[in-house]
Subunit: 344 residues, 2 copies
């Protein structure tokens, strides 16, 4: 058997941070991985008058999305996605979720037989009464075993080697161990759990909880209330996933970095918390705050709350998730924010 | 059967906050409780030239320990402990733990037959290789069924009716329901669980975790690291209690206000976190910080860490609790704080 060839699909802030780790780890485990090259697919753009791929390949730094962090020299930027994955047996998906579907179209039929994948993409796909996690989408579309990684992982902190943890929900134990070898470092601890759906959903649903925590901050209710909201949010996340997905494990939510720890991180810092606080204090609508605070990007928490609302409504299950519903009502339907804790 | 007569033993910040709730709730549930009087035992002292009992009974406010919060008029301060509990069938213990043993001596043989108790006292009793929770101490000494209440409850926030939650670990389901009636309000939500030891231990061990979180804040490692430490701490709390106590429930730690939510609150605010941060940033020893920041009071987290260290050492089990041990080593043995995350 040949060595595993890694390719990274996506080169934003998180993609670049993870490329740094992967580039180093293929050298640390060169019995398993081909250490010569870790291609990273880069959506080509100009930055300060140069092409981003050229910057990465010459300066070994993604100056646009992860400045001041050196990437290992075996991380090679490639603008053509099909070329980037050519021969790869271990594909790492790490891109904004809205680009996934087009990317998969380009990759269909181009991926090595027997390859496997892992997704670090945050979010969940909801279309009316159907809901799916991206690991399943990738697995189905490309016909390859696909795991998921999520955790309390602020990219910039991981990139400078601050102590942190993450969770891999694996498809097979063998896959799990391979991905752990690719990502684990002394300061980036990887736990494994047999729960792709749970780990994936944590990364999406925690943003709703972070919006609720931001409301509490805006109301200045204090840490008791905030902790109560986080606890209730974590339990709704767990119930939701157990109700609508098979083989989800409680531990993913209650004991793993992807669950409890990521809820904590997102409710302490993070854009969802921050914008929700501003929504209360500045009394501006969210579309205005997205322009002012996020350069026009979407605030994930409120959009996920809307998706989940539509989904739950189609299933006639809104009442079972009062916190999710309150976040939706306050964000989209004009419910006064003071009603947040009522009847929870 | 007569109505339940409540007595509150202790009148500090938390005792006064809970007396406000109890005084109102005996009126709301006057089919079960005697609403005419809720005696609160007050350790008599002078405050601004008046006796504290007189202040409480005249102004209906504990001006020393919970200023600006009105107490219901049926809350009556009594300086003599035996008189305070006379005829009482529902005893609420809420005092600093170092006073418990003397208090119990005074109460022995003086308590109504068939009475029951609940303890809100934080902490755990460790004597070398023996460890016990205060609910068991009270139950044994007074021969009455004793439950425990703990949660993410900053007294001042509860006192002004901010939304929060708490957990009662009950001795019998009937006891649990009685205590829930005494304490629950629309904004102070009481969950019940059949786990006196787990609920009690949460309130003690979370302070060790809060010290660790404060170290991370002092080191400025960021929210990823802090969330990771909180997660690891919560799991050590759970493992510790399951290893050394019978019939402890995982949910007390992972799902209840007493567990995950109180860890969150204590790691966001709270004196343990704050002093530990100062320990790192100001490079002062803890005994100095106790003088400077706590008016000479003991910092619970580091003393609990020491007690637990002695206990674990006697059982030869230190290695199984690396985070607790790191907090002990850094606080008491001069281990550099940068070693905190090493090998966790």
């Amino acid at each position: 058997m040949g060595k595993e060839k890694v390719a990274i699909i996506g080169s934003g802030n998180w993609g670049s941070a993870i490329a740094k780790i992967a580039g180093n780890n293929v050298k640390n485990h060169n019995d398993i991985f081909d250490e010569s090259k870790v291609p990273i697919w880069v959506f080509e753009e100009d930055y300060e008058g140069r092409k981003l791929t050229e910057i990465i390949n010459t300066d070994h730094e993604n100056k646009k999305y992860l400045p001041d962090v050196k990437l290992p020299e075996n991380v090679v930027a490639i603008p053509d996605i099909v070329e980037a994955v050519k021969g790869a047996t271990a594909l790492v998906f790490v891109m904004p979720h809205q680009f996934l579907s087009k990317t998969l179209e380009q990759l269909e039929g181009k991926v090595e037989k027997g390859a496997k994948a892992i997704t670090l993409i945050k979010g969940v796909g909801v279309e009316g009464e159907n809901i799916h996690v991206f690991a399943d989408v990738i697995q189905e579309k490309l016909g390859i075993s696909t795991s998921a990684l999520s955790g309390a992982n602020i990219a910039n902190e991981v990139a400078i080697d601050r102590f942190s943890e993450t969770t891999i929900g694996y498809r097979t134990e063998e896959d799990g161990k391979l991905w752990q070898k690719l990502f684990q470092t002394p300061n980036f601890r990887v736990q494994l759990i047999d729960d792709v759906a749970g780990v994936s959903l944590c990364g999406a649903l925690k943003n709703i909880v972070a919006v609720a925590a931001g409301f509490i901050d805006g109301l200045e209710y204090g840490n008791n209330s905030k902790a109560a909201i986080m606890r209730l949010g974590l339990l709704e996340m767990k119930h939701f996933c157990i109700e609508f997905f098979d083989n989800v494990k409680e531990e993913s939510f209650l004991q793993e970095s992807a669950g409890v720890a990521d809820v904590i991180t997102s409710c302490l810092g993070g854009r969802n918390r921050k914008c929700a606080e501003a929504f209360v204090k500045e009394k501006k609508p969210f579309d205005q705050l997205e322009k002012d605070m996020l350069k026009g990007q979407k605030l994930q928490g409120i959009h996920t709350a809307k998706d989940i609302h539509i989904f739950l409504k189609s299933r006639n299950r809104i009442d079972a998730y009062p916190l999710f519903d309150k976040v939706y009502q306050i964000s989209w339907e004009g419910l006064p924010v003071e009603k947040l804790t009522e009847g929870l």
